[in-house]
């Protein structure tokens, strides 16, 4: 082993990158799962084009998957990668800007030929010089030819052989990071074993070839050691935000003793929420793939009228289509939850990229005075808890709730200590009990929530609708009645604040700069604030999960800092909401509209500038 370069690291970010047909998402996911099983904390970031198969070999068609793992708490997938796997010249070009100086670049030397260089639109035949990557640790590996060589004795066509290339890269990376192969082997057996044993055999053979290649040529490939992370005791699993959201709803239905219904329409990047729930017939989930976004929410409203925990999932354009019906659930006061997995907009925008630009649409984008409760999850795994809480609020307060997540949370994954159901709070739906006194819009004087009577309950028959109404649900358009009801619906949402914890500050409760964020930027926000705190700066973080209503102590928290900066992936929507709700503070802004998460470095630079000014 004397020739082996062994490097011990706290954390490493790896980026797998190739054509969108090269299987990079699978490769990245398998490596992430393996690392999580190994005991590292991880955070992942899939970054793929909106075309299913963009022209092969072009920069537009590059699909990437970044994972950061480490021995400490990992909060982001890493700004820049330490290791890049580039399956072709286009992948190298697309990712050159996202590499740590001096990073290791493993590339398939077979694919760095004239034609591929041309497709990736290089100006010279030396891509590394052209991209100024000469000082980097370049590791040329003949991935294509070695894959072919390993499979020459199997009766496989050329196309099937080339499909195994990603396993060579994966095997090599597993050797470099000292990961066991058993989990990946199990996966391959399970996926192909029965259906096509030959494909399983081929993938396994290439995986081992990659691993052995690393071992045999250790003089040129460095080996890294990243120790397991010390974390909470318990049972762990890897989960992404969309699955966590779906599971949060199932947990809420079970706690509430209700059946779960999802009416939804496929839309990137939210589709997986619908898929994950459609899979759970074993737990009785009713999933209805509707004909359009409007029918998605309308079937949901129908199911809520019929007494189910009813949810719908969507992304920005779909949320816009749902807005009229969301207003109906405000007027009828039915408990539904809408999840908006935000993406880049406006219009079709950047379907596969992340953004936080639906905040104002969510708060205000409906006709009439139409208040809803708005929550935002902040990590892939806490989507579970905020989905659960959204359902609890809807059912206990008879109010529609919108849960905002985003493409970064929805697709990103992290290890999660799974709770037991006994750890979760109870949910008590407001089922009506007394038919003698029941009127659909009689309210609890404390919470202003009405009672829920559903078709099939004897003696509670009533009519509701989208027209302004009296307590019995009948039409009433008297001026005083509309004024009173409008104020009541607004007050009902405000009273949900009683269910929220106070806004927490990470760091000292007073100082020079309060960094404010909300939703899916949490990982990058906390990393940047901690790195400034480590450098002795008086910086703290207030990260919001409760958007409407705002936590009670928000103004008090803000008042303890000399400066406040609001950071978000839009042009300042939360900042303008805060200016409206809590005037009297001067809100600085950091905004980014690139379809990408913040990087820790850019946040720190911005904070330093604001502090110096």
């Amino acid at each position: 082993m004397k020739n082996t370069k062994v490097i011990e690291l706290e954390e490493v970010a790896i980026r797998f990158s190739g054509d969108s047909g090269d299987g990079m998402q699978l490769t990245g996911t398998l490596f992430s799962d393996t690392s999580a099983l190994f005991g590292n904390d991880i955070s992942t970031f899939p970054d793929y084009p909106s075309e299913i198969r963009a022209p092969q070999g072009t920069v537009a068609g590059v699909s990437g998957f970044q994972v950061q793992f480490g021995k400490n708490k990992i909060t982001t997938p890493g700004d820049l990668a330490h290791v890049l796997v580039a399956m072709n010249p286009a992948a190298l070009k697309a990712n050159a800007a996202f590499l740590n100086p001096g990073a290791s670049i493993i590339f398939d030397v077979d694919s760095f030929s004239g034609k591929n260089l041309e497709k990736a639109q290089y100006k010279t035949d030396d891509p590394f010089t052209e991209l100024k990557l000469n000082d980097y640790s370049l590791i040329p590996v003949p991935i294509t030819s070695l894959t072919k060589e390993s499979l020459k004795d199997l009766e496989l066509d050329n196309k099937s052989i080339l499909r195994c290339k990603n396993m060579f890269a994966l095997g090599l990376i597993c050797w470099m990071f000292d990961r066991p192969l058993d989990y990946i082997e199990g996966f391959i057996q399970k996926k192909f074993g029965k259906k096509s044993p030959l494909v399983a055999e081929a993938n396994l053979a290439v995986l081992h070839s990659g691993y052995n290649y690393g071992m045999n040529l250790q003089h040129m490939t460095p080996q890294y050691i990243v120790h397991p992370a010390p974390i909470e005791k318990g049972i762990y699993r890897n989960i992404n935000g969309n699955n966590a959201t779906a599971w949060g709803f199932i947990a809420a239905a079970e706690k509430a003793g209700l059946e779960l219904f999802i009416g939804s329409y496929p839309i990137t990047p939210a589709t997986e929420v619908l898929q994950a729930l459609a899979e759970r017939k074993d737990l009785g989930v009713k999933s209805f793939q509707a004909e359009d976004e409007i029918a998605g929410i309308c079937t949901t409203i129908g199911a809520a009228f019929a007494g189910h925990l009813a949810v719908t999932s969507t992304s920005g354009p779909g949320f816009a289509l749902k807005s009229e019906a969301l207003g109906l659930s405000v007027m009828a006061e039915l408990p539904i939850v809408v999840v908006n997995v935000q993406r880049g907009g406006p219009s079709t925008g950047l379907p596969t990229k992340t953004e936080q630009s639906d905040l104002l649409q969510t708060l205000y984008g409906r006709n009439g005075e139409s208040p809803v409760v708005v929550l935002a999850a902040s990590t892939p795994s806490d989507c579970f808890y905020y989905a659960f809480l959204a359902a609890k609020i809807a059912l206990e307060r008879m109010v529609p709730v919108v849960l905002l997540t985003d493409g970064f949370l929805g697709n990103g994954s992290e290890p999660w200590r799974v709770p037991s159901m006994s750890e979760l709070p109870s949910i008590t739906p407001r089922k009506a009990k007394n038919p003698e006194t029941y009127l659909p819009y009689n309210r609890n004087p404390e919470t202003l929530a009405r009672e829920w009577a559903i078709p099939g309950m004897e003696g509670f028959e009533h009519r509701i609708g989208g027209l302004e109404k009296n307590n019995a649900g009948g039409v009433n358009q008297d001026p005083e009645n509309h004024q009173r009801n409008s104020e009541m619906r607004a007050a009902k949402v405000e009273k949900v604040v009683e269910m929220f914890p106070e806004l927490e500050v990470t760091g000292d409760s007073e100082g020079d700069l309060l960094v404010v964020g909300w939703g899916g930027t949490y990982g990058h926000m906390i990393s940047s604030v901690q790195s400034m705190q480590d450098a002795g700066k008086k910086v703290s973080l207030a990260h919001f999960n409760y958007i409407k209503p705002l936590p009670k102590n928000t103004a008090e928290v803000f008042s303890k800092f000399k400066k406040i900066v609001v950071c978000e992936l839009n042009l300042g929507q939360f900042a303008s909401y805060l200016r409206d709700k809590l005037p009297g503070f001067n809100y600085h802004q950091v905004n980014k509209m690139k379809g990408l998460p913040f990087s820790v470095n850019e946040l720190v630079e911005n904070f330093e500038k604001i502090m110096e000014a």
């Binding site: 099983l37 699993r237 808890y385 078709p455 929220f500």
Partner: protein, 354 residues
């Protein structure tokens, strides 16, 4: 023997009915309430869902569970109600604007899925609630407020749309014939799957008399063909006219002329999957043909809400995951119990309320 002994009155709410005097909706409501009483199903198990339009005020006038929703969406909302609880008897009250214009997409997909509910389509060929604009069933050339020089578009034939959407049940009735409307609604209520009943309805204010040439009781026998399952398609004051197929097309013939006997007349078979003939019956129009009334198509097909229920039961019979705790701990999990590890903190204690 009936369980409940309801009368139509048991289905009337105390709300004041606010349709225009003479509106066809009154007659349709009476027929629906009578049908519901006869169904002998518990009052609490009815849900009446509507969209927007004159006819959509319907739920407020019923004493059942009711939901007056938004324009065009009744079919989608009712789909959610019935899928959530297949034990309910769900009725959708809608109009030509509500279901065939703004709600066209939900309408065809409801029919395609074959969800077991009854949809009554009030067809008055005009927008009444917005005071007289042309609708998707307005005849070409008609002058309305938004077509002051006549419309330049053809109308939907609702039955064509239903059959084109793989509909399993379509019937037609007319508001001034309450007895027949009731019979048709009773058949619709019996049918398992989406039943669409088009009721030709008169708007006294904005489209008065639009169906008069069909509805006029004086010419009823000559101008309407009352279809009955298993019976020959015979009409006319003297019951002397009938339909035959000639060169693949329907033709009106006179019994006793040119050697035609009753045996030559087509027999109506709504339960047969005979799309071509059923569409031909739907298309029949004056003056060449009488207008077909009654149940035109009533075939069996899998019912969505029942299939949804069945699928869940089938999966649950063999399930390994029986509760959320099972799911949380299923698949790829690993246990962390090192000496350096902290005791877990419950999320909701840590971050949320206690």
């Amino acid at each position: 023997m009936t369980k409940f002994n309801y009368t139509a009155k048991d289905f009337k709410s105390t709300a004041e009915v606010r349709w225009c005097p003479g509106c066809g909706d009154y007659a349709i409501m009476n027929a629906v309430q009578k049908t519901m009483a006869d169904m002998d199903i518990a009052h609490k198990d009815f849900a009446v869902i509507s969209g927007i339009g004159c006819s959509s005020r319907f739920p407020y006038y019923m004493s059942t569970y009711g939901f007056h929703t938004i324009h065009g969406r009744a079919a989608a909302i009712a789909s959610g109600v019935k899928s959530a609880n297949p034990a309910l008897t769900v009725w959708v009250m809608t109009g030509d604007g509500d279901s065939l214009a703004i709600g066209g997409n939900h309408f065809i997909h409801l029919v395609r899925r074959n969800i077991d509910l009854n949809l009554v389509l009030f067809n008055n060929k005009i927008y009444g609630l917005t005071k007289g604009q042309y609708s998707p069933t307005t005849d070409r050339g008609m002058v309305t407020k938004t077509s002051p020089f006549g419309t330049i578009e053809d109308s939907f034939v609702p039955g064509q749309l239903v059959l084109g959407s793989r509909g399993t049940f379509f019937a037609r009735a007319i508001d001034n014939n309450i007895k027949h409307t009731q019979e048709v609604l009773a058949d619709a209520a019996q049918h398992k799957g989406t039943s669409v009943v088009e009721v030709l309805q008169n708007c006294v204010i904005f489209n008065d008399g639009i169906h008069e040439h069909i509805s006029d009781p004086k010419f009823r026998a000559e101008r309407q063909l009352f279809l009955k399952s298993g019976q020959p398609m015979i009409f006319g004051e003297q019951e002397d006219k009938g339909l035959i197929l000639e060169k693949g097309k329907l033709k009106v013939v006179k019994i006793g002329e040119n050697g035609i006997t009753r045996e030559d007349i087509l027999v109506h078979e709504p339960k047969e999957d005979n799309l071509g003939l059923q569409v031909a019956l739907i298309n029949m129009a004056l003056p060449e043909f009488p207008v077909a009334m009654g149940v035109i198509r009533s075939v069996e097909a899998p019912v969505y809400d029942q299939e949804m229920k069945k699928q869940i039961e089938t999966v649950q019979a063999k399930r390994k995951i029986t509760c959320m705790d099972d799911l949380l701990q299923s698949g790829n999990t690993w246990t962390v119990e090192g000496e350096n590890c902290d005791e877990p903190v419950k999320f909701f204690n840590n971050k949320c309320f206690g």
